[in-house]
């Protein structure tokens, strides 16, 4: 997408020697952490070393990294009343985003590949109808919004044809996140075109309507891998991973009989790395690795594992609540670094 603004911003980058990620050590990932009573945003090298750590005012959920400029947007936990734009080179907050009246951020956001626009997942506070907020990344002005195609959107990713959104289907109390519609929830995956129209939408089969679709990872050929969290009877073993090619029906990828229960109905994060997909369950203390076609490969035990991202080369980088960053593959886990802190839900890969 080339806009006049994007073109001018591109020129500006050429004209002025603005700092980039390379100037602050070229982090490969961003990750939030709790250390003592404080919360921090870390930039991590590919080997899991902290390159910088900047204080956050409260626990966040996910972050979005600008593709070129050393900017991170950290989203407050739901109900999200603000998001911070942190200039990682200056080491401080340079802007604070507030959703419009009656809207709340819902945990995730992502920049356009050219870095000109930020998209955020949001809800109308009353009723949890989903919105995609659109922000000018030059000055973080709100420039528009689209319907997300469902209730309670969480993660969102950009594809060639538009924005793919995980509409979790859950209506939450605007004040305390209490879930209000578990008996009638209907999650979906929606592809919203660049004009804001609903291009494709996929629902789960009846019987799995309580499988909240929450996190997304993209494959190279335009496939969407999605991770779910089961709100139904915990005795039921349901798929927590699915694959979707917009236009087709989603394909569910169950773990083998008796093995799926290890996730305790909860996939907290998802990543796609080459020919493999990984989902993590801090509740079950396991990560599961599947092939890119959704065939189960292996379960790796690791207490409180949650953050996961593609590692450089092959395999995954994972983080846990005990402060370890691990190299993860279907052969097992190998600790790269350990710090006296708790890594939070997500690892965000840069570039």
């Amino acid at each position: 997408m080339t806009t006049r603004r994007g073109f001018l911003a591109g020129l500006a980058v050429l004209a002025l020697p603005q700092p980039g990620w390379a100037d602050i050590g070229a982090p490969a990932y961003l990750a939030a952490a709790r250390q003592g009573q404080g919360f921090w945003l870390h930039g991590l090298s590919a080997a899991g070393e902290s390159l910088f750590a900047l204080p956050l005012p409260a626990r966040g959920h996910a972050a979005a990294a600008h593709p070129h400029r050393p900017l991170a947007v950290a989203f407050a936990r739901r109900p999200g009343t603000y998001a911070l734009v942190i200039d990682c080179a200056l080491g401080r907050e340079t802007a604070r985003l507030h959703p419009p009246e009656g809207r709340q951020f819902n945990g995730h956001g992502t920049f356009s590949p050219d870095g000109t626009v930020l998209y955020t997942s949001e809800v109308v506070a009353e009723g949890s109808a989903g919105r995609i907020g659109i922000w000018d990344a030059a000055d973080f002005r709100r420039i528009g919004e689209w319907h997300s195609g469902g209730l309670g959107p969480h993660d969102l990713k950009l594809m060639a044809r538009g924005v793919v959104v995980a509409n979790g289907g859950i209506e939450t109390d605007p004040n305390d996140r209490r879930k209000l519609n578990i008996d009638r929830m209907r999650p979906n995956l929606s592809l919203i075109g660049w004009d804001g129209s609903l291009v494709e939408q996929a629902e789960l089969p009846a019987g799995l309507r309580q499988d909240s679709i929450r996190h997304l990872a993209l494959g190279r050929a335009g496939e969407v891998a999605f991770a779910m969290q089961w709100e139904g009877d915990p005795a039921e073993e349901v798929p927590l991973l699915g694959l979707w090619r917009p236009g087709d029906a989603p394909v569910l990828c169950p773990a083998p009989d008796g093995q799926g229960a290890r996730m305790q109905g909860y996939a907290g994060s998802i990543a796609w790395s080459g020919a493999q997909i990984a989902i993590t369950s801090p509740k079950g203390g396991v990560a599961m690795i599947f092939t890119a076609a959704g065939a189960y490969l292996e379960t790796i035990e690791r207490a409180d594992i949650c953050g996961i991202a593609a590692a450089q080369g092959a395999g995954f980088l994972a983080s846990d609540g005990a402060g370890a960053l691990l190299r993860l593959s279907d052969k097992g886990a190998q600790r790269l670094t350990q710090q006296a802190l708790s890594w939070d839900n997500h690892l965000v890969a840069l570039g």
Binding site: H61, H154, R214, E236, G258, P282, A303, G321, S342, N345
Partner: protein, 327 residues
């Protein structure tokens, strides 16, 4: 490194003496390995008995002994018992959709080849294990066909699963837990991780008692569901709660000598469970009897809070940061 004899002796004395003797290596030696050995022995004995007789009256004592032994270790849900879905292949409960009975029905009078050990182990976990045997040994209605071949196959499969869990613990997993934090240990990177995983087992299993073993039959005041109780046909519902609590109490005692409130919480919950007259929660429609189950449920909830406050601090662990509050 070779140490002088006196120094070796000194280390030996330290290792034997004092309260420092309670920690996760003791849990492995005194609780986990003996527990899995007892379960493997009891289920092997049951499988042997089934070769001698298919009369339920002959097999029920051995069946209950195997179930009792499983309750001694059922709170451990990590490592070998989770490989290939073994834990659920041993005890598939809760089963709100009745998948176990459905899957088992298809095996009645099946081609004997499907009941051979390797083929049987490929059956759905719902069709296997202790509750599959319960349906054969305590049938609600007369069985549609001679269950003898299925009893033998199911008990042999249970014994093989139990033996597999024990063999995997003895064949390396016990060593890797005991040597947590040693250089080159790829599974447990620190001693804290070993304590953490054992603590997590207690917390998760207590929650399971509270929400599943007690919560499912309790239902709501207006709609109690005693028929949902675990192992109801063999009248083991209450017994399973008592044995699970006792086993966890014993495990905590191997972890630390210094968790008095947690131990008192266990004692209170065990006494309440033992004091219930209903072996299978039949009387839940009666408000007075229901109250006793609710009081037990609250006591288990309180025990969980005590363990989180006291035992976690004592072990230097906690509920995982991400596990406690996801999104």
């Amino acid at each position: 490194m070779r140490l002088p004899f006196a120094a070796q002796l000194c280390f030996a004395l330290i290792a034997v003496a004092g309260p420092a003797g309670a920690d996760f290596p003791q849990t492995v030696q005194d609780h986990i390995l003996p527990g899995y050995r007892a379960f493997a022995d009891a289920s092997a004995a049951l499988a042997d008995q089934a070769q001698q007789s298919c009369d339920p009256a002959d097999l029920r004592p051995g069946y209950n002994a195997a179930f009792d032994a499983w309750m001694g270790v059922q709170h451990l849900r990590f490592g070998p018992v989770e490989r290939d879905g073994r834990a659920l292949a041993i005890l598939y409960w809760p089963d709100p959709k009745g998948l176990g009975a459905k899957a088992q029905k298809a095996l009645f009078g099946a081609d004997p080849a499907r009941l051979a050990p390797a083929a049987f182990a490929e059956q759905s976990v719902a069709a296997r294990g202790l509750l599959a045997l319960e349906r054969l040994l305590y049938p609600a209605q007369p069985l549609s066909a001679d269950p003898c071949a299925l009893i033998r196959a199911t008990s042999a499969d249970l014994a093989a699963t139990a033996a597999g869990v024990l063999a995997d613990w003895q064949g390396g997993y016990a060593q890797s837990l005991t040597s947590a934090g040693a250089a080159g240990n790829p599974v447990f990177l620190s001693k804290t991780e070993a304590r953490q995983i054992l603590f997590t087992q207690v917390m998760t299993a207590l929650e399971f008692i509270e929400e599943q073993r007690l919560g499912r039959p309790l239902g709501s005041f207006d709609a109690p569901h005693p028929e949902r109780a675990e192992a109801r046909a063999s009248s083991r519902s209450r017994r399973n709660v008592v044995l699970a609590l006792r086993a966890m109490r014993a495990m905590v005692a191997t972890l630390t000598p210094d968790a008095p409130q947690t131990m008192a919480g266990f004692d209170r919950a065990i006494a309440l469970a033992e004091g219930m007259e209903d072996a299978d929660f039949t009387g839940l429609a009666d408000p007075a009897r229901r109250l006793k189950v609710e009081i037990l449920q609250q006591a288990v909830g309180h025990l969980r809070e005590q363990a989180l406050a006291e035992l976690a601090a004592e072990l230097g662990v906690g509920i995982g940061f991400n596990a406690a509050d996801g999104d």
